[in-house]
Assembly symmetry: C2
Homo-oligomer: 347 residues x 2
DNA sequence: GACCCGTGTGGGAACGATGTCACATCCCCT
DNA sequence: AGGGGATGTGACATCGTTCCCACACGGGTC
């Protein structure tokens, strides 16, 4: 980078345009454009002169003008639910890196789980003429809206428009089955499930995985043990306190995401229960704290950074071939066994 | 939001422009522009007709064209070091919320602590004609470069260009003094400092705070106890292992950020040391895991979300008054006392 | 009745970059 | 010598929006 060498456009405020470069180099605007973009002819000495002039003036092409002319920008929109959740933060980090590598700039909005914010953001992205959008959707509205405007969409983590838009998800069903199956294998028969939603495909799949593992162990499902908790730590903590204080409490809990796991963890601690002696815990989505607390928490680990990166790659491919069939990529997950699981307490 | 009601521009691909709206409403482009933006005259019945036509066509004004014409966009750039660090993620979340509320879209890049990525991103932001930039800088280059292009900059968390650009930081010196002073008050005399850099102003201030607290307790500084660790967990863990295994180890550690604290925490655990009986620990920057581990970790808490939000407010004010004197906002911090500190072990 | 003002509206020139097209060389081949 | 390809360059229209200006109309004042 040559940032240091560049000086302000001799003290004045107006930014240099391609016209200024053209005058400085003694050629026409067209020639400057060709020399800088590399599209079309430009004699090497002329190119040289143009490049030097541009560098001296600190010329940076105006993306607005370029996009207006070309009708397609090199930026992608990224819509995530909550940056404070390490899952989304890491997703965004992965998207950011991959976007940079592919020459996209990233327009990011935290939609705060609000449908209104999501709609607003979508509209802003249309207005910005982004080349494509990556979204962790809260409804099918965003994808529909963006698609109707001809903007490619990749749904990440969960899918509402499978079949009509691309998606990148993880093996939710198999992950949930593995986690629950691990508990079953240890001898647990009363296994609680904490989950946010079962209507969205991700929650549904995790729920199904849970059910499959139970039926694989010939265990009847107890609806009392399936908690459709809210989306925040406080709520799942409260629900967990209720359940664990009640009679006939479960001997193990499978928490379907890192936020719910945190609530359950806190509840367990407050009640003075010992993990894993009194109760086992497995989470879906490995958050940093799970390997720091004592005992450490077993979790189904998803490569979240890669999830974001893969989504950008998919989007890039889609932008290149808008008419190709939609594809859903499923990333592998793996159970990380730590210290939070053991056979149920003998009575 | 009326997203659902809108249909694609009758199956065709071209996006509706202001001209299409004008034709549909039977008026001129100028009139449509006035009706939609609210700048200039427009009879109420005409305005009505225009709004309806725009809604029916699903018209969204082209920001590129608007920005090109107006020479100023409603988007801000946000450059953070590492989204996977909860500190930066929360900062970005705060910035995102405030940006949205003020009608800005946010262009975000994770600069991965790389000067090259930072320069590239800065150049992209100039090209995008952003209204301003918020950055957690790694050098003075970004601020200088952006300023030379007439783009307002707000430096957050650390400052390289104090006096010439705005800044939003926290009370680093007082926070470090409080934390260290707390340890001194408990009777500790061998207090180690883990810090990333002392050249940048933030590290320098925290270092000074540490020194002040020591001299306030009439404690001579032992250079052996000041570790200029790298920026990642692995490195600080290694450095901590070395120190804690050595002879005459400290009775307390002050870790100057959440990453270093994590490394130290892991090292302490691996060595089987008991917190706080064998060693006390205080961190600067309260990360989520600190209230989840056992024992919980005392920390100087900064309102990181607010740090991001404040930066956007400052930037907004700066954009409104580009010539005003530069100001640096210092946010308060507070020591959150948890379980990781106690008097030193009696020998 | 001439003038002017207030209220609306449309025409057209920007904004900065791109890319098509026409044209201007030069050199080589027949 | 003249045609024609290869190589380079410049003029100009264009992208979608804004906004300055001109103008039209009606009604009031002198």
């Amino acid at each position: 980078m040559t940032i240091e060498r560049r000086s302000a456009p001799h003290g004045r405020s107006r930014r240099p345009t391609i016209k200024d470069v053209a005058e400085a180099a003694g050629v026409s605007r067209s020639t400057v454009s060709r020399a800088l973009t590399g599209r079309g002819y430009a004699a090497s000495d002329v190119r040289e002169r143009v490049l030097r002039a541009a560098d001296e003036l600190g010329y940076v092409p105006d993306i607005m003008a370029r996009t207006l002319k070309q009708q397609v920008s090199r930026s992608v929109g990224v819509l995530v639910s909550d940056l404070r959740n390490p899952f989304y933060a890491e997703l965004a980090a992965g998207a950011s890196r991959e976007a940079r590598e592919r020459g996209y700039t990233m327009v990011l909005a935290d939609t705060s789980l609000s449908a209104e914010a999501e709609s607003e953001a979508a509209e802003a992205l249309v207005a910005l003429r982004v080349a494509g959008v990556i979204v962790t959707p809260n409804s099918s509205a965003v994808s529909t809206y963006l698609s109707s405007h001809g903007i490619p969409v990749v749904e990440v983590d969960r899918q509402f428009a499978a079949g009509s838009t691309d998606g990148v998800v993880v093996g939710n069903r198999v992950g949930a089955r593995t986690a629950t199956g691990h508990l079953v294998g240890l001898g647990h028969r009363r296994i609680a499930l904490f989950i946010d939603e079962t209507d969205w495909i991700t929650g549904y799949e995790r729920y199904q995985g849970y059910l499959e593992a139970l039926s694989g162990g010939d265990i009847k499902v107890d609806p009392e043990l399936v908690v459709s908790s809210g989306w925040d730590v406080a709520d799942s903590r409260r629900r967990a306190l209720d359940m664990l204080r009640g009679p006939d409490r479960p001997t193990a809990v499978f928490a379907a995401n890192n936020v719910l796991a945190e609530g359950v963890w806190r509840a367990i601690g407050e009640l003075g229960l010992k993990v894993p002696a009194d109760i086992s815990l497995v989470a879906f989505d490995d958050a940093p704290w799970m390997s720091m607390v004592s005992p450490t928490v077993s979790a189904v680990s998803q490569d979240t950074f890669n999830l974001g990166a893969t989504a950008v790659r998919r989007l890039d491919a889609r932008i290149a071939m808008p008419e190709a069939d939609s594809v859903t990529t499923v990333l592998n997950v793996g159970l990380v066994q730590r210290e939070s699981t053991a056979p149920p307490p003998t009575i």
